[in-house]
């Protein structure tokens, strides 16, 4: 086993333990201990507005699949989609979902159907769609523009894997005078989102959607575990810098290389 593999196992096991630990100690899933994120507050507001206004929300899940590193952002988008459907079940029009990946499209439809059955949305005509808009970034962006420009859409939530083409989506929302909540794991797209979206999700905020939308205490435990690991990484980085300054880094590398 390589050092990278060993480190990976340790990290995963530690994460799993921390998540279980925090999910046990946090019996009451309250959100009072997490910092407020404006984008998720905006999502809750827009859900309420959609209920009152008789409009619908648009959730675009991006073009990331489940077989790559972008899968995490795509799954995070699916989690947000599920929460939004549950919260907006009393809307006249359920949310509409769009994807740029075939697998995510299938999963989105599965999530929609499962959630709709769970909340007893019997009218299939009102079931939110999870259509595949396009298989390339710009075809997906161009196809999504049609949904964004629908007058019945009151807000757009872009959570998933996007490239720089997301500026099309955010700009279209701006032209429709609808708020845009956007988050992605791709860094260039984050820069675009920061510049063009009304409520951006930066970095790992995308993965905290379940905790902020009330998906359960395991999501809160995930955030707590991430915080623990974030501090661990900080101390490791600072320690590495210190060791490098002291010249001990080479000794450590050699020691690790010898042991592995």
């Amino acid at each position: 086993m390589s050092a990278t593999g060993f480190t990976g196992i340790v990290v995963i096991v530690l994460f799993l333990g921390l998540m279980i630990f925090f999910s046990i100690i946090n019996q009451e899933p309250k959100q009072k201990n997490i910092r407020p994120i404006q984008a998720y507050n905006k999502i809750n507001q827009e859900i309420n507005v959609a209920v009152e206004d008789g409009t619908q929300l648009h959730i675009s899940l991006g073009r990331g699949g489940i077989t790559g590193p972008e899968s995490a952002s795509a799954l995070a988008g699916l989690s947000i989609l599920k929460q939004v459907i549950e919260k907006s079940s009393v809307c006249d029009y359920p949310p509409v979902a769009s994807t740029g990946n075939a697998v995510i499209s299938i999963l989105a439809q599965d999530t929609i159907q499962g959630t709709s059955k769970a909340i007893s949305i019997a009218d299939k005509g009102k079931n939110p769609s999870g259509e595949l808009v396009g298989v390339t970034p710009f075809s997906y962006a161009a196809g999504t523009l049609t949904t964004i420009r629908d007058n019945n859409v009151s807000a757009n939530i872009h959570t998933g894997w996007f490239g720089s083409e997301i500026t099309w989506l955010t700009t279209a929302g701006e032209r429709q005078s609808t708020p845009t909540i956007a988050g992605t794991a791709q860094l260039p797209a984050q820069a675009v989102i920061y510049a063009s979206a009304s409520d951006p999700l930066i970095g790992e905020e995308l993965y905290a959607g379940g905790a902020y939308l009330g998906a359960g205490k395991i999501h809160l435990a995930s955030i707590s575990a991430q915080d623990v690991f974030r501090w661990i990484i900080i101390f490791v980085i600072l320690g590495s810098v210190l060791l490098k300054i002291l010249g001990i880094d080479i000794f450590v590398e050699n020691s690790l290389a010898g042991s592995m």
């Binding site: 990976g8 995963i12 699949g65 995070a76 299938i106 298989v135 510049a195 993965y207 999501h219 995930s222």
Partner: protein, 214 residues
């Protein structure tokens, strides 16, 4: 809440496959099992693409009608998709069976239709990005936005390199920005994304998140 009998089964399958693939990354002895699962996943992913295309067709078929103002676009999409599919099949038949053409018609469609369109879209993206950067101070007039705005200007000017007007210090600044703050920030973001990815994956493995309908 409806309880489906296949929910535990699908959950068990998802968790089991995930754990095996993950363990195969660290344990070489189970690489073969991992590989088999990955191959199955690849096939399913390819089939999923086909399913997605069928879904795309279905959605736009539903959009056809006088009630939908965008039904014309849906019609164009359906025609283009079917036409491209037919041409691709013809090219494939000719190539596989007769070895005559090397997907010439498909290349022609791609080169003369899809490529210009998508390139143009990217060009428009450049305009949109420019506009977004110009309007960021109107959206959020704070320190971070101002910093963001001027960093963009510096990086762009640092990329500017026409000999009479080249400013060497701009290159230095640009390189420093790309290497230090941008890289540090990107690393930090990637670390955060990695942590989020891990937790998301663990939730999937734990079965608490079941996007597969379980």
């Amino acid at each position: 809440m409806n309880i489906k009998l296949n929910a535990p089964v699908s959950t068990a399958i998802a968790i089991g496959v995930g754990i095996i693939v993950l363990a195969g990354y660290f344990i070489p002895s189970i690489t073969n099992i991992r590989f088999a699962l990955l191959r199955t996943g690849l096939v399913l992913a390819a089939v999923a693409l086909l399913v997605g295309i069928i879904n795309l067709l279905t959605v736009h078929f539903k959009k056809l009608g006088p009630d939908n103002e965008n039904s014309g676009y849906s019609l164009i999409l359906i025609i283009a998709l079917l036409l491209t599919l037919v041409i691709g099949i013809i090219d494939m038949v000719q190539s596989y069976m007769f070895g005559q053409s090397n997907f010439q018609m498909t290349n022609w469609i791609f080169t003369n239709i899809q490529l210009p369109i998508e390139t143009s879209l990217l060009a428009v993206t450049a305009v949109s990005l420019t506009y977004a950067a110009a309007s960021i101070l109107r959206k959020r007039m704070d320190l971070f936005s101002i910093t963001f705005f001027f960093v963009i200007l510096l990086v762009l000017l640092g990329s500017f390199s026409i000999p009479p007007a080249t400013l060497p210090f701009l290159h230095i600044i640009r390189d420093w920005i790309v290497r230090v703050p941008a890289l540090g920030g990107a690393r930090g973001l990637l670390l955060g994304i990695a942590l989020g990815t891990i937790t998301t994956g663990i939730r999937i493995l734990m079965g608490t998140d079941r996007p597969y309908g379980g």
